[in-house]
């Protein structure tokens, strides 16, 4: 099956810093989503982005499907950005969303 790797596995930031999270996948995909799991365990859909670039406030994401990676940018980080960020993909012709191992982010004051 498809392999989905995220980096870095852990990240600590000072509030106000910017960061880039990466998601690499081993096969072509037609569905890629980014999620944030907050410290209370809630999973929030951030982006549905099989290709191209999207922005939502301080967050933006870019997927380069031909090179098999996606990036999530967090600008001016806040403590509420803490949690685990997951990317998840579906391969062409597939029907199951495969999750990456996540990036654990902690934003400190």
């Amino acid at each position: 099956g498809i392999q989905v790797e995220q980096s870095p596995p852990d990240l600590i930031l000072q509030e106000g810093a910017n960061s880039t999270l990466r998601c690499n996948f081993s096969d072509s995909v037609n569905n890629l989503q980014w999620f944030h799991q907050n410290p209370w365990g809630q999973l929030i859909n951030l982006f549905y982005i099989p290709s191209g670039t999207k922005q939502n406030g301080r967050l933006s994401a870019t997927t380069v499907a031909t090179e098999r990676y996606s990036l999530l940018y967090i600008s001016s980080s806040q403590t509420t950005d803490s949690g685990v960020y997951f990317c998840a993909v579906i391969t062409g012709g597939g029907n199951k969303l495969t999750f990456g191992t996540g990036t654990q982010l902690k934003v400190e004051l």
């Binding site: 037609n30 569905n31 989503q33 999620f35 799991q37 365990g41 809630q42 999973l43 929030i44 859909n45 549905y48 685990v84 997951f86 998840a88 579906i90 597939g94 029907n95 199951k96 969303l97 999750f99 191992t101 996540g102």
Partner: protein, 113 residues
């Protein structure tokens, strides 16, 4: 106005018992899912229903049985609970099948003692 709601939020039970987790979505979506998140936070799909029809059934012990009485509800029944079933179970939904944004419930933390 909760979009995807699960009950209960916490479930503590003993080995060998049978338990159910309920899920309801008010988004009008036609596809619903059950995911399991283990202690290392790895998320894996268990089941998926589209308009009450089972479309994904991963390699899950047959002690786990999903039931979808209508497209807004997907319940999960677990028989003869084992210690290894301890995890967080998430219900989710999407509109138009798997290639659309997924919306999760808040999860049910199951602890088997």
């Amino acid at each position: 106005d909760t979009a995807v709601s699960q009950t209960p939020k916490y479930l503590v039970t003993q080995m060998g018992n049978d338990k159910s987790i309920k899920c309801e979505q008010n988004l009008g979506h036609d596809t619903m899912y059950w995911y399991k998140q283990d202690s290392k936070k790895f998320l894996k799909i268990m089941f998926s229903y589209n308009n009450k029809e089972l479309i994904i059934n991963e390699t899950v012990p047959n002690r786990f049985s999903p039931k979808s009485p209508d497209k807004a509800h997907l319940n999960l029944h677990i028989n003869s609970l084992e210690l290894g079933d301890s995890a967080v179970y998430f219900c989710a939904s999407s509109q138009g099948g798997v290639n659309s944004p997924l919306h999760f419930g808040n999860g049910t933390r199951l602890t088997v003692t």
